[in-house]
Amino acid sequence: MTADGGGEPAVTADGQRPEAGTPLLEVRDLVVHHGQLRALDGISLRVLPGEVYAIIGANGAGKSTLLRTIAGLHQPTAGSVLFDGADVTRLRPERRARRGIVMVPEGRRLFGSLTVAENLQVGIAYARRGPWTVELVYEMFGWMRERRNQRTAQLSGGEQQAVALGRALVANPRVLLLDELSLGLAPVVVQRIYAMLPQILATGLTVLLVEQDVSQALRVASRIQCLLEGRTTLEGRPADVTADQVEVAYFGLAGAGKAGEGGEPLWPGSTRSSRGC
């Protein structure tokens, strides 16, 4: 295997055109550089209202860069970001947040000198109207009300993640961007947080998340997209992708580590099985 081949072409797992319907969030041919380092090379995606869209891929693949560019923290070199049909590529991050694109950044990024309640209040400062209130967040995370006057630095990793999530929710976003929720958290805690997704979606939100743990992403997403070295190597529904396809898309190596027969469908009920690439 040499390294001089071209990038793997994007595989749409069920071989069909991408989902029809107006996307709430769309990215077209995004090219993003960090200085001269090319982080994303022509990424496109469409997130439909009400779905959970997961971006997976190895470190350095560009997942967080993609989310941060969508949130407005990074300007792309080329391509566009569309929200509800409108081009928001040149919009500043705070303007996007006020329109309803709210990100929970990697590493929580709570306001350390503020209490839990104050963090939530900052989230409300520029909130849109909607079902989410501080009260609702306290209800969702039962422990939070009692500890609301504590400095966030005293909370555990999982609790901080909950506050960060709450801070984003009270802004009543239309699309919630979750950047590596599971980072630094124990698996049990991660499960608990992801278990809240249905409740969140029930209030009319759409979720675009980046997840390091591929299996976790496949568990919660309605559609996934795998990035490798800044390009898309796989997209589709979890039910339609095989473990082999995921592995190949993740590492970029055809036939990587095929000790067993492989090619088994990942989820039962899939209409397609393959022997990998």
Binding site: L73, E94, L110, F111, L114, V122, A171
Partner: protein
């Protein structure tokens, strides 16, 4: 008894110094900017007050009501234009830019007003008078009023920062600018508000100094900025009430120095400043050393 007088004098001057310092501390805490023109802007406020009084003959205290808000707005504009664009290029650039601003202001004042010092006449007998405690201690009313004003300002600031929406935003932006953006806050605007507060308070300090002592074009740097800096360092960066403590320590040190030798007043203050830097660089109120 002269010593007691000196100490009381020093404590009260601390209030004045706190007015100088709290804006500097705020701007550094929120946006990591050290505005080297901080003191000069206070002097400008003083000169503007003098100008307004000379032209319109309004009472001295009314000039405060006019000048302070105007300076606050000017501070906002200065932040949104000059200082923000300097910040975009790096924190060192703000030092250079504000240094340049300081030079321009001082030379401008020199040009228009000559090097003579001026005072803001406090015609009111109440303000220029003093009262006696016991038989030996004499305290000027003005200084007491300034101290009281400083305390009120600090209380107001503390309340603003802890309980108001903008105060929360200022603290949030100071903690994590990017996370604040993600929450919908335009940090440039929040910086502007912080700068407005800083300018307003230092303008108040400048006018107070003009009443208490005298203003000259160079007073901004050689007195106000340096004393503000010393008060912040002694009291501890990031602490609002620390600026009062720092101011008080500085004032007391100066007065004690003056008792020893009248020309050692300012020197004594700086000796204490140096001592704090060497022995406890995080200041008297901060628990850990600041990075």
């Amino acid at each position: 008894m002269a010593w007691v007088n000196a100490i009381i004098q020093g404590v009260l001057t601390g209030g004045l110094y706190a007015l100088f310092a709290c804006g500097l501390s705020l701007m550094f805490g929120v946006m990591k900017v050290i505005n080297l023109a901080h003191g000069d802007l206070a002097v400008v406020a003083g000169y503007v007050a003098i100008g307004i009084i000379t032209v319109t003959h309004i009472p001295v205290l009314w000039s405060v009501v006019v000048v302070v808000p105007v300076m606050a707005v000017a501070g906002y504009l200065l932040q949104r234009t000059m200082i923000q664009s300097a910040l975009n290029r790096g924190i060192l650039t703000t030092l250079i830019v504000t240094f340049g601003l300081s030079v321009v202001i001082e030379n401008g004042l020199l040009q228009f007003f000559t090097a003579n010092s001026r005072a803001i006449g406090t015609g009111l007998a109440l303000i220029s008078g003093s009262f006696k405690l016991g038989s030996q201690i004499q305290i000027g009313y003005l200084l007491v009023v300034i101290f009281a004003v400083a305390v009120v300002v600090l209380l107001g600031l503390q309340y603003f920062l802890s309980a108001s929406r903008y105060g929360r935003l200022i603290r949030a932006v100071a903690d994590d600018q990017e996370a604040a953006q993600l929450a919908g806050a335009d940090y440039r605007h929040v910086f502007g508000v912080a700068a407005a507060i800083a300018m307003g308070t230092v303008a108040l300090g400048g006018i107070a100094y003009g009443m208490y002592s005298q203003l000259a074009p160079t007073t901004g740097t050689d007195t106000i900025l340096l004393f503000a800096f010393a008060a912040v360092v002694i009291g501890g960066l990031g602490s609002l009430w620390g600026t009062l403590l720092g101011g008080v320590v500085l004032g007391v040190a100066q007065q004690i120095g003056a008792q020893i030798n009248i020309s050692d007043e300012v020197l004594a203050g700086y000796i204490v400043f140096l001592a704090v830097l060497v022995l406890r660089p995080q200041g008297l109120t901060t628990r850990r050393a600041q990075s």
